[in-house]
């Protein structure tokens, strides 16, 4: 593997934000394709981070730092990738449901998904079902992720799914839910496509749902 790409992997692992843009430009100057930089520079780094995180050797702030490092490189690569018609990992739309102001878990999911290479749009918190519907229509996500922390706001997930069904958009998007009181059986009950118990597994599940 090229030395520059291996440096990029290391920089992602170490969350070394400063060097990302320079290394990315350098790799492109050396004649590497954008996709090669992504697949052989950034992704091996992120994969390593994922493994270390699951093994308990890396922690959330470090993973986020790595995700940010990857984003810094992606800001250069994304236009090139789009230009050459390369399929990116996919699009994820996120939000905390109506009536709920808790968003730290949802923010974590956003950052983890970015780290996994997704294009992420975050609708924020206390999001009305109608706003989710518009988001699905306009942004065209592959996956919609909804979060709730309160048992009293869990029901809003069900209402949102209904609204998406009524708008005729349900078959265009996979729906993932999560949050402290949420369970797999609740997800089944309200007709979601998946449930993730933590941010890292949400990103994994999003990948799985898209490739399925």
């Amino acid at each position: 593997m090229s030395e520059t790409l291996s440096k990029l992997s290391t920089a992602v692992i170490e969350g070394d934000l400063e060097v990302m843009e320079d290394l990315t430009s350098q790799a492109l100057d050396e004649g590497k394709e954008a996709q090669e930089v992504l697949n052989e520079g950034l992704m091996p780094g992120m994969d390593h981070v994922g493994v270390e995180f699951k093994a308990g050797n890396m922690f959330v702030p470090e993973v986020l730092r790595s995700a940010r490092a990857m984003q810094a490189s992606m800001s250069i690569l994304r236009p090139l990738l789009t230009e050459s018609g390369v399929e990116l990992a996919g699009k994820v739309l996120l939000g905390t449901v109506k009536g709920d102001l808790h968003d730290i878990g949802k923010n974590l999911v956003a950052m983890m998904c970015e780290g996994a290479g997704f294009e992420v749009k975050d609708l924020g918190k206390d999001v009305e079902p109608d706003v989710f519907v518009e988001g699905v229509r306009d942004f065209g996500p592959d996956v919609l992720g909804m979060s709730a922390l309160l048992t009293t706001t869990m029901r809003a997930m069900e209402h949102t799914i209904k609204s998406i069904e009524e708008a005729g958009l349900r078959d265009q998007v996979k729906i993932l839910i999560g949050g402290a009181p949420v369970t797999q059986s609740f997800a089944d009950q309200i007709g979601a496509d998946g449930y993730a118990s933590n941010a890292a597994s949400a990103a994994d599940l999003a990948k799985k749902l898209i490739s399925a």
């Binding site: 969350g15 702030p61 986020l64 940010r68 730290i104 923010n107 950052m111 118990s197």
Partner: protein
């Protein structure tokens, strides 16, 4: 904007205190009264002679003992030469204990007849291999600072098990060791072993690698064996722990203050005798005071009274300026279970928060009759947790983090902030064995209980490859001392039941 501060740093470590200074003085001056008026019984002629030559009143002499009374001035004189700081350094010259006020070190207990087999979980008599395994655990666990023999070696010859225990510990660890000795001969042999391990007596003088455990008998009695060990240690620059083990309600007054007075009296006599014999003799006083359980008559190792008395004694020793031998990490439970974890947590937290020095008995179950590898590994995590509490909450400008809050603002988050990235590892304690996963992840990872995870960690440490800590030649030379001792004692029968009914 912070108000400008003067050049002043606050001690941020939380403090637990059970006695006021007035109360400490009451206990100390009461102990002086007991030492002068009631006196202590000494069962060793040499010890009586040393005390008498130093100014003690000797009376009521019988065939085997005398009553020795110590006037208060002798205690003042002894305290003036007693080192306020005692250092014990492991043979690697890296692991060290510097014992003085508020310096917290944890270590194992000693000489349990039984142990819990690390694999089968069966309770059985301890062997050489067990003692070595415990030393290897001590070596691997970062919060174990010194070690003791968590088992009496009962698969070797008679009356020489103390040397074999020391050898087994030297095989497993390079941390400082607190040894026990069967008798003076055993102590002498172990000192020779230490000289070989270190490369000579001069090396020992630069930093002894073991201290000796000596236990006078409550109430107020000092046996021949105890006095002989004390005098030998003073003569040979061996730091020693002089720790009576009074049992409130049985071998000392049932009131905790009365027990503290008596224990202090017993230790002060040791201080006086050692300082007369050799001014500057290094000592650590303790340290194991508890109550008798009035239903079962056992000596409680997990009672709140034990933790409370140890804490009180620590405060007394800090006031006196004497290094302290504390007790924690132990339990009355028969196995490593919820009771064991609960009792160990209470006494570890109490001992650390009060600032005990040499805190022993980590790994003790069943009133000190059984050693548990699992309790030792679990205690390592409990100590880690308590050490986080000891670090407290500093309140510098960087800690108060106003600019950080300002930059994030209402409704934002701190997860990606540099301040978080740079400080979370120091600020937020990360467990090794405690589980914090949510239910689904926990279930996915095998639904393991704390006990399961502790058990796995024990096996992981014991099954790991180990480099020998000594060269073959040195090991053989040290082992030779054990073998020669066996040769001398070969005709003695060892009745294992003397260590407790199997």
């Amino acid at each position: 904007m912070q108000v400008k501060k003067t050049n002043f740093t606050v001690n941020a470590t939380p403090r637990f205190s059970v006695l006021t200074e007035d109360e400490i003085e009451q206990i100390y001056f009461s102990a002086l009264s007991v030492l002068y008026e009631t006196g202590v019984r000494v069962y060793d002629q040499e010890g009586v002679d040393v005390a008498h030559a130093g100014g003690a009143i000797v009376e009521d002499t019988t065939e085997d003992s005398s009553l020795v009374k110590i006037p208060p001035w002798m205690v003042d004189k002894a305290l003036s030469t007693l080192p306020r700081k005692v250092v014990v350094i492991g043979p690697d010259r890296k692991h060290r204990m510097e014992l003085f006020k508020d310096q917290v070190y944890f270590g194992a207990g000693s000489d349990t007849p039984f142990t819990i087999d690390p694999k089968s979980g069966e309770r059985r008599r301890a062997t050489y291999e067990d003692v070595k395994n415990f030393a290897r655990l001590a070596q691997a666990l970062p919060n174990i600072d010194f070690h003791m023999s968590l088992g009496i070696v009962q698969d070797r010859a008679v009356g020489t098990y103390d040397r074999w225990q020391y050898l087994a510990m030297l095989e497993g660890t390079t941390k400082p060791i607190n040894i026990t000795a069967v008798d003076l001969d055993g102590l002498n042999d172990q000192l020779e072993m230490a000289y070989i391990r270190l490369g000579g007596k001069e090396e020992w003088r630069k930093g002894p690698i073991f201290s000796l455990y000596i236990e006078p008998v409550s109430p107020l009695s000092h046996s021949e064996e105890v006095i002989q060990k004390l005098l030998f240690s003073a003569d040979n620059e061996i730091p020693f722990v002089y720790t009576p083990c009074p049992l409130a309600g049985a071998t000392s007054p049932t009131t905790l203050a009365g027990t503290a007075v008596q224990a202090l009296t017993e230790s002060l006599f040791g201080i006086v005798l050692a300082q007369i014999r050799k001014p500057g003799a290094p000592m650590i006083i303790g340290g194991l005071m508890s109550n008798m359980d009035m239903q079962t008559t056992v000596y409680c190792y997990g009672s709140p009274e034990m933790a409370l008395l140890s804490a009180a004694y620590t405060e007394i020793t800090k006031w006196l300026g004497v290094p302290m031998y504390e007790t924690a990490g132990c339990s009355d439970s028969k196995m490593f279970d919820a009771q064991a974890a609960m009792e160990a947590t209470i006494n570890i937290a109490t001992a650390a928060l009060v600032g005990g020095n040499m805190i022993h008995d980590v790994g003790y179950l069943e009133q000190g009759l059984t050693s548990s590898p699992e309790l030792m590994v679990a205690a390592n995590e409990i100590i880690d947790m308590v050490k986080r509490i000891l670090r407290g909450i500093p309140t510098t400008d960087a800690d108060l983090a106003l600019p950080v809050m300002d930059s994030v603002g209402p409704g934002g988050h701190f997860l990606e902030h540099d301040h978080t990235y740079k400080r979370f590892k120091h600020e937020i304690w990360q467990p090794q064995l405690i589980d914090r996963q949510n239910f689904e992840s926990w279930e996915m990872s095998g639904s393991k209980t704390f006990k399961d995870r502790v058990h796995e960690r024990v096996l992981e440490i014991l099954e790991a490859e180990h480099e020998p800590l000594m060269e073959d030649k040195m090991f053989a030379e040290i082992k030779r001392i054990c073998e020669l001792a066996d040769e001398r004692h070969k005709d003695e029968e060892l009745d294992l039941d003397m260590f407790g009914p199997g």
